[in-house]
């Protein structure tokens, strides 16, 4: 009689173990490092990660992250995790300076676009072809002045994806 009970229990245990093994084999690992460190990280619009910096096992496939902190611009990221992949995401949130915007002067303008990035328009003067050298010099000079202004406001200006320049030529100056 006892043997009759043990067999199904063993079978169920085997199934559970098999499921766990398959799940493990179909997973990857995610680590999220944020700046600032205490930013809230929401996974797939549901789960808040208590310790995002700790390695987390996730099913392979598409996932989303929303990273937020008061006083900073929120960040939404979509990513794909492959089987056995060990992915680390470094997310630097930019300070929200929307209260100081738009900043607009003779040299540049800064605007917040879609609550997600800063657009910096530079205003070098060019009215005649013989002013082109002056225009190029002003473009560099005004970019530097605009970046200094952003730094002064606490913005990490190394995040090039979040600071877009007009004209585009200024992006890589």
């Amino acid at each position: 009689m006892k043997k009759l009970i043990i067999i199904p229990v063993l079978f169920i245990t085997f199934l559970i173990a098999l499921n766990a093994l398959l799940s493990y084999l179909n997973s990857g690992f995610l680590t999220v490092k944020t700046t600032p460190k205490d930013a809230a990280v929401i996974l797939n619009e549901k789960k808040g990660l208590k310790e995002p910096a700790k390695k987390l096992r996730l099913k392979k496939g598409e996932h989303t992250l929303a990273i937020t902190k008061e006083g900073y611009l929120s960040e939404n990221i979509s990513f794909e995790l492959k089987r056995k992949e060990n992915k680390t995401l470094n997310v630097k949130l930019l300070k929200d300076i929307s209260e100081s915007l738009p900043e607009n002067n003779d040299q540049f303008q800064v605007e917040l676009i879609d609550d997600s990035y800063y657009e910096v328009t530079l205003y070098p003067i060019l009215n005649r072809p013989d002013q082109v050298d002056e225009y190029d010099a002003q473009l560099k000079e005004f970019k530097k002045i605009a970046l200094d202004w952003l730094k002064e406001k606490g913005i990490d200006t190394s995040n090039k994806e979040k600071i877009k320049f007009i004209p585009e030529e200024a992006q890589n100056l």
Binding site: V132, D136, P167, E169
Partner: protein
């Protein structure tokens, strides 16, 4: 039978008259000037339109400060004061300080003027007024003195700006100096300027006509 003959005669006469009219007017230009007519119908009256842009804060403050001088020059030359401000914006952001480069051309950058003021020198009101009147007369000269203080002929105004800048780009509509940021089709226009292997630069600043409209229609206060 007689009616049929008369009808045929009238038809032939009508066709003959039409052919003669087409040939004569076509050869001697007796009809309306088509190019002139198309320019007129294609240009909106400047009254009421606000371009989707603003004048930078600092330049706008300069304009407010300079307005009495613009108006005085307008009274002397019949050029709308907002046009003078539009040119002044394009050239030196409405500054009253003698520019560091092309110094002798003054704050309105009139080539060959040879003003005697040193670079970086703030102009007195009298000096600034003189340069403003010179610029306004220069604008008038570009359109045979046709401007009046209340003109609302958009083409005439654009043509005056275009002439001030040397009439490059084939038409005033294609000139960034005149039209930049006027609407979506004229935003951040490319300017011909070759250097270091690149033969264009992007103009981000408002055109003179765009600036003129913002001021005329009080789009920015």
């Amino acid at each position: 039978m007689l009616i049929k003959v008369l009808t045929a005669f009238v038809v032939v006469l009508g066709v003959f008259t039409a052919v003669i009219a087409i040939v004569v007017f076509g050869m001697f230009g007796g009809g309306p000037d088509q190019s002139q007519a198309s320019v007129k119908t294609g240009s909106p009256n400047p009254t009421g339109y606000c371009p989707p842009t603003t004048i930078p804060k600092q330049a706008f403050e300069n304009i407010q400060k300079n307005t009495p001088v613009y108006i005085e020059a307008s009274n002397t030359t019949n050029v709308p004061w907002q046009m003078i401000a539009g040119i002044h914006f394009r050239e030196t952001n409405n500054s009253t300080v003698t520019p560091m480069v092309n110094t002798g051309d003054g704050v309105y950058q009139i080539v060959g003027k040879n003003y005697p003021y040193r670079a970086g020198m703030p102009l007195t009101t009298a000096q600034f007024l003189q340069e403003t009147i010179d610029a306004a007369k220069f604008i008038q000269g570009k359109v045979n003195n046709k401007l009046t203080a209340t003109t609302n002929d958009a083409d005439l105004i654009k043509d005056a700006f275009w002439g001030y800048n040397g009439r490059a780009y084939g038409s005033f509509d294609k000139s960034p100096y005149v039209m930049n940021n006027f609407d979506a089709a004229h935003t951040n226009m490319k300017m011909d300027a070759c250097d270091k292997g690149v033969c264009y630069r992007t103009d981000t600043r408002n055109g003179a006509y765009t600036t003129f409209l913002i001021l005329l229609n009080k789009c920015q206060v």
